[in-house]
Symmetry: D2
Subunit: 353 residues, 4 copies
């Protein structure tokens, strides 16, 4: 049994970690911390856990985190980097669901998160926790920067056409790398469980809007991830939108095919690339994925469309932002780090309708 | 033209007042205050008002409220009572959409709102602003305590059977006055435009719950209102629920019919009572009202059902909590106070779907 | 492994059976029928099942149902009674999720469902599949009439106060049996996956209404169930409402306490009655259940409130209408019928948010 | 007073026409037809109209349409073209909200709508009813093909950069005309009030998906409209998505700027182009339009964004699909055709929240 700690369990990614780990056959929840809610039973805040999670929130200072095998940070940005060094020193692995260990470039981090980076040395050894790209590095990682919800869907969607092996096989770039467009739509749980007017039901319901159009924190992460995949510069424009639903991300990706790309069987390319992936489903030609088809599961589903009479490739990707986009991916990464079968505890079927 | 001031225009009842008054042919918006947002154009906060409302929020201290004909308080409880005396002294009429002038009994007010009442003398002259009950008193009132959203629907629903004239005509009580049940359901805008976790989209969407079951502030107001109508003690149990919709209240009212009540044509009783009311629609027998049938309008619709094989009267009432339950009723009251036709500015049709 | 057939798998209860049975360690899906969709892979209709359910819909006439251990009917009313006799003769157990085997009285059935009953003899041996009431009879039943979604919540809510043992211990009736009120609210999936205008998104969203107020098919089932529990006549008024959410039932139950009832510790009574029940959670005093706290799980949660200053008992019950209100209860019943641990395949945690 | 007929008033665009025309000071509703609902009072189907619209649905054969000044067709495709010739012969103007008179090319019409075109001669004289483009032609038109909901938003969004005058002033194309992308999102009311499984609440709620990705009927209309504006060939890829909300369209438009385009002040270009338009609001730089800011109003709002570090122009457009995208635009067109002030009956403020 893995001994597990969660720092900051009062948000949605924390609650989702609890849901998943309470059903994980190899996980033992040892501590969950919250400064504000110290002493409150977890199941009092999240009544869905009544009878199944007996833990109470504990004071971060007093929690036996150093005795855990792994500690998840489901906290605001900046918390993990303040505590990681000490935990690592105690032999604890760290999985940060926030942004502290995502961006390789501390200047970029500081620009977007308005915080100096507290431990560039730890960052230097951190692995970006996207198993479909970094599986082997994750197995031996001691600290993980887990991808953001949007970046997960966007990177999975473009992975097959940016993959250097596929590019080499095609005899050159498959898509025009400098002009990618990611038009992404997220459910409101992506905003977190924070008291903010913009996320109120009466603001977000029966409404649709774009936000952070001028610049969203996931933009540099998406570019960094795509460039790491491609091994070359990539230009991408990212437009996030807010959908009046609780869970789900839908990414509509546009890329212009090069002559080399137009000659390819793109459906086959995608199917091959993800054939061995347990959590990526390439749907048949002509499919229309929908977010509810992955609701509450760790799956991403992808459909590949070439626009009629055009050289435009359209890739449609769906995921549950709280699962494959956050806590499910965190558990997948944990399984890899500790040598468990990758799908352990992650086989629940999506909930539809 | 009536010169109008609004204190606290950043919430939903304030925004709805702006929507209604900007379309009111006799209203001139003179000032709208907000301590926090001083200087911000109103249309920047509520983009629906762009091009139609040029006003900016002004500092409460500097706003020319004393030069208005009427000032609406769309504020948290406690603000109106702090400013009412001064405004009244300047000859300004006051319409409070909060609770400061609803409860006649200051001890009851203090128990539920945890505030000492600042001006019992003003309260003594305040009129409860429910036109269907108090129309004549409203015409000459200088200060109005506007009914709460739930109390409006509940009082309208039981008015015909508690009305002393109807009771006298029936030869005694029509329903058992001591055991009324109001099972009420409200859209989330009723919680206001406050940053609170419980009103987040991801908390309230795709969910249904009861709240404040042990005691809600509208309970004493409902009882007071029903007793004022009946001229006798009334016992009522009130259960509020939260519906994942933006606007609307649906009240399901249960009352046990007395032998006198069972002998009556209740449909006819309701139709007669509201025949002259411009904003109350008694639907035909067997009707099922729905909240969207009054969305964005000042109407209440009522259906009267007698449960088959039972002596139970069921009255179904719908209203838009922000209009007939708040800002629309406020405008209706204003029209009465200033001798305008009661429906002025309130004739927009409901928005369906 | 149990060999399982599903007749009529294209609706929501069918899809939910598939979701639950595909994760059930002792279940082998042998056939799922649909006249209209013969040949279509199930996962093409419900993409949530892609990669997990390989079955295609088969022609009802050709499906090997007679070789199953148990056949579920997730069909419109009237289908199960046409096929049950033949299946039973072949030694197959039958669980009907529709109404064919719910009402004991065929005249009552015919009045509400406008169909003559095709097999009163089979009905005579059918067991009403509510484990909390009929567990022992279910173990040996050959044919089950599974309770409706509303009746499940209402019967669970009043079981402790109508239970003859509790009544005897209290020295007489705990509540006034002739004047019960069930004010119930359901998500729209309760209307099924049928093309009907009233269930369209643009009709049901951002709206709340009552329906079938003059008489709903679950009314006679509720009364029959409560009378079977109490062993005495019961009078109940039932008002169903439609909530703009996908899943969930919330029942607000009102009953007037007798003097004997007022003397009881009702919280303790409820806790005792359900102490051994794996799927009924009596929440602590003062709790407010919410439908999402049981979303996608087989749990019902109950809170017991006594209205202040009144003799009214209010019981709040939540369930997922597709799980405890239908397909989950069907699996629970199957587990009992075949001697499996009752919770097998039903231990997934609710999905919140 | 204009005498008005509506053919096919039982859908959402029909209901919205009724809402708008019942409040229009120059409109007299003479007849509204429905084959299925002949005799039913309109207000029985749409209870929002109770007390304000006294008309009943009449038999299409018997309705006095030939005595109207104008007849609106709020019908499925194919109905208007069967009746237009006769009405025009009687001197009645025709406004078709369906697609019969949108596409200039009958072969294109027949390809997408699977119907032969019944009256190419009438089509030849029809005017495309987009006032911002065709105002003068509309004034004298006898028959109008009203734009689709998506095409209205897309054409308004690109009008300023495709306008030949602007292109001439810029010294050449402003955007690359052959590679436009329209990523559009619509509320579910756009699917109409038809009983279809895909539009059920339990299918569409808490879900997001793309649809008709391989080809949508609005695609040829969009291309035709943009080419008519530009006077040159245009290439556009259109991806429609379904949003779980009732009303609203949000179009995210992407276009690559030419060197000439990069040199322009695009914000100023948009503001100038729409300065005199009563129903198009160009928002300030950096704005994020939201669909609710135009809910139930005839407005479109537009924000112009240039992606940082990229030559991509992003234009965000919102409209209410039932108003500016259908019935409101129809009334606007009617006002123009009959010499009324263009905004008559269309000045209601949007409903927010």
């Amino acid at each position: 049994m893995l001994r597990i700690g969660i720092v900051g369990g009062t948000g949605y990614t924390g609650a989702e970690l609890l849901r998943l780990l309470a059903q994980h056959p190899q996980a033992e929840l040892v501590a969950i911390t919250s400064r504000k809610e110290t002493g409150m039973p977890v199941a009092e805040m999240f009544s869905s856990l009544r009878g199944r999670v007996e833990l109470a929130f504990s004071d971060p200072a007093a929690a036996p985190l150093a005795q855990c095998d792994v500690v998840f940070f489901a906290t605001p940005h900046g918390v993990a980097m303040a505590q990681a060094r000490e935990l690592l020193a105690a032999g604890v692995r760290v999985i940060d669901l926030a942004a502290d260990f995502r961006l390789r470039d501390t200047a970029e981090f500081e620009r977007w998160y308005k915080l100096p980076h507290a431990c560039p040395d730890v960052l230097a050894q951190a692995v970006y926790g996207l198993p479909e790209v970094n599986r082997e590095a994750i197995r031996t990682a001691r600290v993980i920067g887990l991808p953001g919800c949007y970046p997960t869907s966007v990177q999975l969607g473009w992975l097959p056409v940016l993959d250097p092996a596929a590019v080499a096989a095609a005899g050159g770039d498959i898509v025009e790398r400098d002009s990618l467009i990611a038009d992404c739509k997220s459910g409101v749980s992506g905003a977190g469980r924070k008291a903010e007017v913009a996320a109120l039901f009466a603001e977000a319901a029966d409404n649709f809007k774009a936000y952070s159009v001028a610049g969203h924190r996931h933009q540099p992460e998406i570019r960094q991830g795509l460039e790491a995949i491609a091994g070359k510069p990539v230009g991408v424009v990212f437009t996030p939108h807010l959908v009046p639903m609780v869970r789900g991300i839908f990414s509509t990706l546009y890329a212009r095919l090069t002559p080399a790309g137009r000659a390819l069987d793109l459906q086959a390319l995608y199917e091959r690339r993800f054939a061995a992936e347990p959590f990526v489903d390439v749907m048949p030609p002509g499919s229309m994925p929908e977010t509810r088809s992955v609701r509450a599961s760790n799956l991403a589903r992808i459909a590949v469309h070439r626009a009629e009479g055009s050289d435009l490739l359209r890739v449609l990707v769906v995921e549950d932002n709280l699962v494959k986009g956050a806590s499910g991916q965190a558990v997948q990464v944990m399984n890899l780090m500790f040598g468990l079968p990758e799908t352990t505890g992650l086989t629940q079927l999506p909930v539809l309708p």
